[in-house]
Amino acid sequence: MRKDRPTYPETRKLYRWMYGLVMILVLLVSAFISMNIFFPHWLYQSETIITSSETNSDGDADKIENGIHVRTGLIDAEGLMVVVQNCTSCHSASLITQNRMTEERWNETIKWMQETQNLWELGPNQKVIVDYLVTNYPPMKKGRRMVLKDVDWYELED
C-alpha cells in the first residue's frame, strides 16, 4: 500500500541544509545585535585615525573657491583637509566656524568630545587641527557690548 516516495531523502537533505542556513543567519544577527549592545565602538569607530592627505581629495567634493573650501565653508589653509576629515564627520563645519577658542580650550573641547561624543584618538593630527583652528579662527575681542553692525537700512512705510 505504501506509496513509493523516491524524493524523500533529497527533501530531507534540503530541509537539513535550509535549517543550517537559518541557524547561521540567526547566529549572525544575534552576534550583530550583541555587538551593537556591548561593543558599539567596534562597529561605529572602525577608523581610529583618519590620516591627512590632500591628494586623497576627490575633485569637486574638495573644491576651493576664493580661499574657501566650498563644501564645508572652512578657510583654505595648512591643515584644512585634516580638519575636514576629522572634524566634520559627526557635526557640520558651522559648529567649528561659529566657535572661536584658544589652543587650551580647543584641546579641552577635543578631550570632551573624546570622553563623551565618541571622537577617536587624533594622534599627531591633534596639533595640526588645533594649529589650524587658532590661526584661522582666533577669538575676537567683543567687550561688554558690541556696536550694531551690518544694519540693513530701509524706508519705513506707514
Binding site: 558599539p40 550694531l148 524706508e155
Partner: protein
C-alpha cells in the same frame, strides 16, 4: 506622494498634517521644516536655526518662525498608533505605559501659550566666547501648546514620597549614531513637573506638532531653558535624586553657583543647574534699520517675558539709557506666556538713534544694558535688545 518618492510610504496615513517626508528634499531645511526664508541657519548637523527679531512679531509664534535646537538626529520613523509613553523610575508607585489615545482619552486636555527660550540664547555676545551654537537673539518663541498635564499622568502612575526630579527620554539618535548614547535627557524638579502649565503636548498652534519640534509628544515646561521641554518623548522617569541623564551634568545648562570673572575655569561641582530663565524683551517692530521722517510718530512693539515670573514694566530709551520712558504693557494670556509691549515715540531732531528696550520682572529685577555675568557655556544673556533707526 508615493509616486514622487517612487515607493509606498509605510504608515503614510499616520504622517502628521503638513508633514513632507525628508526624502523629498535635498536637505533644504527651509522647505523641509517649513521655515521663513529670513530664519538663520546656525548648523546643519545637527539642525539648529534661529529667528530674527522682526520674525517674532506675532502674538503666537507660527511654526515658520520658531527656532530649531537639536542635539541629535531628528527621528524619521514615527508611528503615532504604536507610540508609547512609559512612566517609570525609582519613585514611581506603578510603572505604567500609555498610548497616545490613552493620554488623550484618560486625561483632561489643556491649552496654554508658553514661552520657550534656549538657555544659550544670546551666547554669541559673551567675551571670552563660549562654546556651542552662537545664538544671537532669536532662540525664543511663544506658541500655543495643547496636551495633558504631566501632573495628572504622574499622579495616575503614582508618585512615591521620596520623588525629587523627573527625567525625560526620547527617540532621537546621538550624532555618532551610537545606540547606547542619548543626545539629551534632561528634566526638572517635582515642583516644576507638577505645575498646571507643564504639559505633555500633542498639538501646537492647533495642529499636530511639527516633526522637528517633537511630534508626536513633547514635554513643555514654559519659562525654563527650552532643553527641559524634551521632544519625541517616550519615557519619563520619576527619580529619587536629581536626574543624571545626558546634559544634566558637568557644565551643560549650568552656571557658576557664585559669580566668576570672565574666562574663569569653574569646577563641575561649583556649577548649578539653571532653572527659571531671567527677564528679557525683544523689539519685534520695526525691523532694525528703519528710516523715516521727523514728522512721523514711530510706533514700536515687542514681547517681554520673565521665566517663572510676570513682567511688571517695560521701558524704552532713545539716548543710550540716559532717560527711560514707559511702554504700554499687556497682561500675559496665561502664566508663562510672553507679554506684548508697545510705545509711540516722537523724535525732536534728525539723526541716528538706537531704541533700547528694558523689561523689569515682578521681583524688581531689570535687564542689564551690558552683558550679564560671564559663565563658561554662555547661558542667560538677557541684556537689553536694541534696534538702529535714522530720522530724516
Amino acid at each position: 506622494m508615493a509616486l514622487l518618492i517612487g515607493t509606498d510610504i509605510v504608515f503614510g496615513s499616520n504622517m502628521p498634517e503638513d508633514y513632507v517626508p525628508l526624502a523629498l528634499h535635498e536637505n533644504d531645511p527651509f522647505t523641509m521644516f517649513k521655515k521663513n526664508k529670513d530664519m538663520v541657519l546656525l548648523n546643519d548637523r545637527p539642525w539648529n536655526m534661529e529667528a530674527q527679531a522682526h520674525l517674532l512679531d506675532d502674538d503666537i509664534t507660527p511654526n515658520s518662525c520658531m527656532f530649531i535646537r537639536n542635539n541629535g538626529h531628528v527621528p524619521e520613523k514615527i508611528n503615532p498608533y504604536t507610540w508609547k509613553l512609559t512612566i517609570d523610575g525609582e519613585s514611581v508607585k506603578h510603572k505604567k505605559t500609555y498610548s497616545l489615545a490613552d493620554l488623550k482619552s484618560k486625561f483632561k486636555q489643556h491649552t496654554y501659550q508658553l514661552t520657550l527660550e534656549c538657555g544659550g540664547n544670546g551666547r554669541s555676545e559673551f567675551d571670552p566666547p563660549a562654546k556651542g551654537n552662537q545664538w544671537t537673539i532669536g532662540a525664543v518663541h511663544c506658541a500655543q501648546w495643547t496636551g495633558v498635564r504631566l501632573k495628572d499622568v504622574l499622579e495616575d502612575a503614582g508618585i512615591k514620597s521620596d520623588a525629587v526630579y523627573i527625567g525625560y527620554h526620547a527617540v532621537d539618535e546621538h550624532l555618532s549614531y551610537d545606540p547606547n548614547k542619548e543626545p539629551i535627557s534632561r528634566g526638572c524638579p517635582m515642583s516644576k513637573a507638577l505645575m498646571d502649565e507643564t504639559l505633555l503636548a500633542f498639538r501646537m498652534n492647533g495642529k499636530d506638532i511639527p516633526l522637528v519640534h517633537g511630534y508626536p509628544l513633547r514635554l513643555v515646561a514654559g519659562g525654563w531653558p527650552a532643553s527641559v521641554s524634551g521632544k519625541w518623548v517616550n519615557r519619563i522617569s520619576i527619580r529619587n535624586k536629581v536626574h543624571d541623564g545626558t546634559k544634566m551634568k558637568g557644565s551643560a545648562y549650568r552656571i557658576p553657583c557664585k559669580p566668576v570673572a570672565p574666562g574663569t575655569k569653574v569646577k563641575d561641582e561649583d556649577m548649578c543647574i539653571i532653572e527659571s530663565m531671567p527677564v528679557k524683551s525683544l523689539i519685534t517692530y520695526p525691523r532694525s534699520g528703519a528710516m523715516f521722517n521727523l514728522s512721523k510718530a514711530l510706533t514700536i512693539r515687542g514681547h517681554a517675558w520673565a521665566g517663572e515670573l510676570e513682567v511688571s514694566s517695560v521701558e524704552y530709551s532713545i539716548d543710550f539709557g540716559s532717560t527711560w520712558k514707559s511702554c504700554t504693557l499687556k497682561k500675559p494670556v496665561n502664566r508663562l506666556a510672553w507679554q506684548r509691549f508697545s510705545a509711540t515715540i516722537r523724535f525732536s531732531q534728525t539723526g541716528y538713534y538706537e531704541i533700547w528696550a528694558k523689561a523689569t520682572d515682578s521681583q524688581g529685577k531689570s535687564q542689564p544694558m551690558l552683558l550679564p555675568g560671564w559663565n563658561p557655556k554662555g547661558y542667560l544673556n538677557n541684556a537689553c535688545h536694541r534696534i538702529a533707526v535714522k530720522v530724516k
